[in-house]
C-alpha cells in the first residue's frame, strides 16, 4: 500500500539542492508585523531521510533536510535565476572554459571552523572519488581540474563549455576538516552532520522524527523559527488526519485531498493552501522502432484523439496545466507560441486513414493489412493517478478505433524488464526535471543504450545539435532561443504525447507568517518565516541547540 515512496522519478539532485516546489502565479499574505523568534514548524513527510551528507543524499527526504543543513556555492533565487550562496560572486571566462568562485568571507561551519576554498576542492574530490557511493558524479565529468587560488577563491576548469555546470555547483559543500580522515560511506557524520546552513541537526529518531534547531550564527541571519520538526508519517491518510487535528503544520496534498477533503471549515480557518506548477510533466512515450509509432501521422492522430484537459479535469480536479512540451509555462525555456492541439477526433481519424489505418472489416477497430490497431500501454504500480490517466486514454483512443490494453507493472520490473530492454509499445510516465532546461539525457540520439533515458529511440539531428549547443552556451538569451527551438521541434515531432504538468499542492498553518509563493515555490525564504509571539505553539528548549 505504501509503494508510493521513492516513486518520485528523478528527484535526486533537485532534492539535494534543497529546492522545494516550483513556479507560481498566486502570491500570499505577508505579515506587516515585526518578525519574532520562537516556535517550531512541524513538517509531515512520507519517507525518512537516510544519509545527511549532500553528496550521498539520494532520496527526497534526505535532500530536503540536507538543504537546510548545508549550502552550495550557488542557489536558485525565487525567480529561478542563479544566485550567490556560499560564493558571493562568480565569473565565467569568455570561452566558457573556467568558472571562478569568490567565497563569502567569515562563513563558519556549525562547529565554528571557517569555510574555505579547500572545502570546495574536497567536496569535488569526493564527488569524483570512485570509492564514494555518490550517484552524482556525472555532472562533474567535464571538469578538467579544480584549483584553489587563495582561501576564498577557487577556479574550476572545464574540458569544454558546460552551462549546466552552474547548477551542479548548487551541490552542498562538505567540511574537509571533519571528513578528511573518514570513510565517507560509513562516517558517523552521515547521522551527525556538520554543515553551514540555517539549521543544525538536534535529534534524529529513525523512522519517527528529525529535529533541527536554528543556527544562531547563520550567515544571512538566524532563522526566526527555533525548530524545524520533520515528522515521518508514511501513510497519506494518517498524514491528512494529523493535519485535521493540527499535528502537522506543513505538508503536500494529493489533488483529491486538495479539491475535496481539505475544504472543511477547520482547514480553511487554520491553514493556507498553495498551488503552483511542479517542474516536470506526464507523458505517453512511444517505442519509435515500432512501425506503427514511427509514422508521425499516427503520433499526431493520437495527440489529437487524447483530450488532455478532460484528463486534468477528471482526474486531477483541474489542478494542473496541459503540457505542450517538456517545460512548464513558468520556465524561461518555454515557448509560448506552441499551442496545445485542440482535441479533434475527425482529424485524428483522417490522419490515421492517411497512414493506412481504417476499419476495413467493420468491427469498430481500425486495421491495416488485416491487423487491428491494438497496443499495450504500460505504467508503474503504486500510482493511482497514473492508472486512472491510462484508463481515460484507453477510453479516448477507443473513440477513434484504437484498442489499448493497460498493463501495470511493479517499478523495478517495469524499469529493468520493460523500459531498459525496450519491451514496450507505449509507456505512461512522468519526468521530474531540474530547473536547468538541458534535456540532453532525454532526447539526444546517443542516449539510447540499455539503462539510458532516450528509451523511445528518438533521433533528430537538429535536436542533437541544439542540445549540444545549449550545453555549451552560457548566455541566457542565446540559451533561451536554443531551448525554445527544442520545445517547438519536440512539439512537432511528438516522440512523446505531452499530457500535463501537475501542480504542487502544499498546505501550511496560518500562524506561520511571511510564507510567500514565487516561481520557485514557497520554501526559498524559510529563514524569514515566523510566528507572532501571541500565536506561538511550541516552546523552545535551549538544550536542543547543542
Amino acid at each position: 500500500m505504501a509503494t508510493r515512496w521513492r516513486r518520485r522519478v528523478g528527484l535526486g539532485l533537485l532534492g539535494s539542492l534543497g529546492i522545494i516546489g516550483a513556479v507560481c502565479a498566486q502570491s500570499s499574505t505577508t505579515d506587516t508585523g515585526r518578525p519574532a523568534t520562537g516556535d517550531a514548524l512541524v513538517v509531515g513527510s512520507i519517507g525518512d531521510a537516510s544519509r545527511l551528507l549532500p553528496i550521498l543524499a539520494t532520496d527526497s527526504a534526505s535532500g530536503e533536510i540536507v538543504g537546510l543543513l548545508f549550502n552550495g556555492l550557488l542557489k536558485y533565487d525565487e525567480h529561478l535565476h542563479v544566485a550567490a550562496d556560499l560564493a558571493q560572486s562568480w565569473d565565467v571566462s569568455p570561452d566558457g572554459l573556467t568558472i571562478t568562485f569568490h567565497l563569502r568571507p567569515n562563513v563558519r561551519w556549525h562547529d565554528g571552523q571557517p569555510v574555505t576554498a579547500d572545502d570546495v576542492r574536497f567536496t569535488y574530490d569526493k564527488l569524483i572519488d570512485p570509492n564514494v557511493k555518490t550517484p552524482f558524479s556525472s555532472s562533474y565529468e567535464l571538469v578538467d581540474g579544480v584549483d584553489v587560488l587563495d582561501p576564498l577563491t577557487i577556479r574550476v576548469r572545464y574540458k569544454e563549455p558546460f552551462a549546466p555546470a552552474l547548477e551542479s555547483w548548487m551541490m552542498g559543500i562538505i567540511p574537509k576538516h571533519a571528513l578528511e580522515h573518514e570513510d565517507l560511506n560509513t562516517t558517523k557524520l552521515l547521522r551527525h552532520p556538520i554543515g553551514t546552513g540555517p539549521y543544525t541537526l538536534a535529534k534524529w529518531k529513525t523512522g519517527e522524527l528529525i529535529a533541527l534547531a536554528a543556527n544562531p550564527n547563520y550567515f544571512e541571519h538566524r532563522p526566526y523559527l527555533d525548530r524545524y520538526l520533520y515528522r515521518i508519517i508514511p501513510d497519506e491518510a494518517t498524514l491528512f488526519l494529523e493535519l485535521l487535528t493540527g499535528g502537522v503544520d506543513l505538508s503536500g496534498l494529493t489533488p483529491l485531498q486538495y479539491a475535496r477533503q481539505a475544504n472543511t471549515p477547520f482547514v480553511e480557518r487554520e491553514y493556507q493552501r498553495f498551488r503552483y506548477p511542479s517542474f516536470g510533466f506526464t507523458y505517453i512515450g512511444y517505442n519509435l522502432q515500432d512501425p506503427r509509432f514511427s509514422d508521425a501521422r499516427v503520433r499526431e492522430a493520437i495527440d489529437r484523439a487524447v483530450d488532455k484537459q478532460a484528463i486534468l479535469n477528471g482526474i486531477l480536479f483541474g489542478l494542473g496545466a496541459v503540457a505542450t512540451g517538456p517545460y512548464p509555462k513558468e520556465s524561461w525555456a518555454y515557448d509560448p507560441s506552441v499551442q496545445p492541439l485542440p482535441p479533434d477526433r475527425d482529424e485524428a481519424r483522417r490522419l490515421l486513414a492517411e497512414a493506412g489505418w481504417t476499419d476495413h472489416d467493420g468491427d469498430g477497430w481500425l486495421d491495416k493489412d488485416g491487423q487491428p490497431f491494438r497496443f499495450t500501454l504500460i505504467t508503474n504500480q503504486g500510482n493511482d493517478v497514473r492508472k486512472q490517466v491510462a484508463e481515460l486514454v484507453q477510453q479516448q483512443l477507443k473513440g477513434v478505433g484504437i484498442q489499448v490494453d493497460i498493463k501495470i507493472i511493479e517499478w523495478s520490473t517495469f524499469v529493468h524488464e520493460f523500459i531498459d530492454k525496450r519491451r514496450f509499445e507505449a509507456v505512461l510516465l512522468a519526468w521530474s526535471l531540474a530547473r536547468d532546461p538541458d534535456l540532453y539525457d532525454l532526447f539526444h540520439s546517443s542516449k539510447t543504450k540499455e539503462g539510458e533515458y532516450n528509451f523511445c529511440g528518438y533521433a533528430n539531428p537538429e535536436v542533437d545539435r541544439l542540445l549540444v549547443e545549449g550545453r555549451r552556451t552560457f548566455d541566457q538569451t542565446k540559451r533561451q532561443d536554443i531551448y525554445r527551438q527544442v520545445h517547438r521541434i519536440l512539439a512537432h515531432d511528438r516522440p512523446y504525447t505531452f499530457l500535463y504538468v501537475a501542480d504542487a499542492l502544499p498546505i501550511i498553518h496560518r500562524r506561520i507568517r511571511n510564507v510567500v509563493s514565487s516561481p520557485i515555490g514557497i520554501g526559498y525564504n524559510m529563514i524569514d518565516w515566523y510566528v507572532p509571539p501571541g500565536e506561538q505553539r511550541y516552546r523552545s528548549r535551549p538544550t536542543l541547540q547543542q
Partner: protein, 327 residues
C-alpha cells in the same frame, strides 16, 4: 535424551543453510537492484555512475560469490551494513525491535486476558445467547480489515473526540516532560495500536479456548469432581480451565517468532517505526543485507520454537525419543 537433543540441533543446521540459500536466491531473482532507489531513473545519474555504485556494493560479482561473502560474514555473526544508509544491520534491527516487541507483548497479553475467559465462559453454556454473541463478535474482529479499523479509531478518538493522539510514539514536546508525564504520553500513543492488533486476533485464541474447554468439561474427572460435591466455580476453574489451558500454551509457544515480526499495515498507519516497516522498506529498496538478516533471524526463531515444542512432546512421550534414536 542428550543424544536426541544433539541430533535435533545438528539437524537444524542444514535446514537453516537451505533456508538462507533459498531466500538469497529468491530476493536476487526479483527484478531490481538496490541502486534503483536513489540512483535509478534520474537523468542526472548516468549509466556509468550507476555501474560504479553497483561495483561498490559488490553487486557486479556472481551470485554464488555474493552468497559466500554473506555467509562468511554471518559465520562471524556480522549481518553487514544496510545498502540504504550504510549503517550496521544489527543496529537498525536493535533500533526497531523494542517498539514492535512492546506492542506485540501488550496486545498478546490483552488477547489472553480477554480471549480465554471469553472462550471458557462460552463453553460453559454452549449455543447460549452469550456464546452466539461472542462468536459473532470475535469473527467480526477477525474479518475486519485492520487498516480500516485503525483509520476509524483514529477518526473517532483522535479527530472527533480528541482523546488520543493519532499517530507516532511520542508527543513532539515529550522531551520537555517529566518522567511520569512521558510514560503517560507513551501509553496514550500505544492504546490504539495495541487495541487494534488485539481486536483483530481475538478470534483464534478464543475459539481454541472454547473448544478446548468443551472437550475438558466432557471428561470423566469433571463428572467425578461434580459428584464429589465440589462447588461449581472450583470445578470449572480448578479442574476445568487448568486442563483446558494446556493446548493453548503449546500454541503460544509456537507464536514466539511472531513476537518480533511487526505488522506492516498497522505500523505504517500509526507511523510506528517497527520491524514490519523495516522489512517492508528493505524489500521495496532491495536492501539485501537487511532482508537476509530478518529472514535468517525469523528462520532461527521458528526452528527453535519447533524444537522446543518437539522437546516438550519428547519429554512427555517416551515413544518419540526412543523411536528417533533407533532410526
Amino acid at each position: 535424551m542428550t543424544r536426541y537433543l544433539l541430533n535435533r540441533v545438528l539437524g537444524l543446521i542444514p535446514i537453516l543453510l537451505w533456508i538462507t540459500v533459498l531466500s538469497f536466491g529468491i530476493i536476487h531473482l526479483a527484478p531490481g537492484k538496490p541502486t534503483d532507489t536513489g540512483a535509478g531513473f534520474n537523468p542526472k545519474v548516468s549509466l556509468e555512475a550507476r555501474q560504479r555504485l553497483e561495483k561498490l556494493y559488490g553487486l557486479d560479482q556472481p551470485l554464488h560469490r555474493q552468497y559466500a561473502r554473506w555467509l562468511g560474514q554471518l559465520a562471524r555473526l556480522d549481518f553487514g551494513r544496510s545498502f540504504l544508509d550504510d549503517r550496521p544491520v544489527i543496529e537498525k534491527i536493535g533500533e526497531r525491535l523494542p517498539v514492535t516487541l512492546t506492542i506485540n507483548v501488550l496486545s498478546l497479553a490483552l488477547v489472553l486476558l480477554i480471549a480465554i475467559p471469553l472462550g471458557a465462559l462460552a463453553a460453559l453454556r454452549p449455543h447460549s445467547l452469550f456464546d452466539r454473541a461472542t462468536t459473532v463478535g470475535v469473527f467480526i474482529g477477525y474479518s475486519m480489515p485492520s487498516f480500516w479499523l485503525a483509520l476509524m479509531c483514529m477518526a473517532v478518538f483522535g479527530v472527533q473526540l480528541h482523546w488520543l493522539p493519532i499517530s507516532g510514539l511520542h508527543a513532539l514536546d515529550a522531551d520537555s516532560m517529566g518522567w511520569l508525564a512521558r510514560q503517560l504520553d507513551a501509553a496514550k500513543h500505544l492504546i490504539l495500536p495495541v487495541f487494534v492488533a488485539a481486536f483483530v486476533s481475538l478470534a483464534g485464541l478464543s475459539r481454541f479456548a472454547r473448544s478446548s474447554m468443551l472437550e475438558v468439561l466432557r471428561q470423566d474427572y469433571i463428572r467425578t469432581a461434580r459428584a464429589k460435591g465440589l462447588s461449581e466455580s472450583r470445578v470449572v476453574f480448578h479442574h476445568g480451565l487448568r486442563n483446558a489451558l494446556l493446548p493453548i500454551i503449546t500454541i503460544l509457544g509456537l507464536s514466539i517468532p511472531d513476537l518480533i515480526g511487526g505488522s506492516v499495515i498497522s505500523e505504517t498507519i500509526f507511523s510506528i517505526p517497527g520491524m514490519g516497516r523495516l522489512f517492508y522498506e528493505a524489500v521495496m529498496a532491495r536492501d539485501y543485507p537487511v532482508i537476509m538478516a530478518l529472514v535468517t533471524i525469523g528462520a532461527v526463531l521458528t526452528l527453535l520454537g519447533n524444537l522446543l515444542a518437539d522437546l516438550a512432546y519428547a519429554w512427555a512421550d517416551p515413544r518419540i525419543r526412543v523411536g528417533q534414536a533407533a532410526s
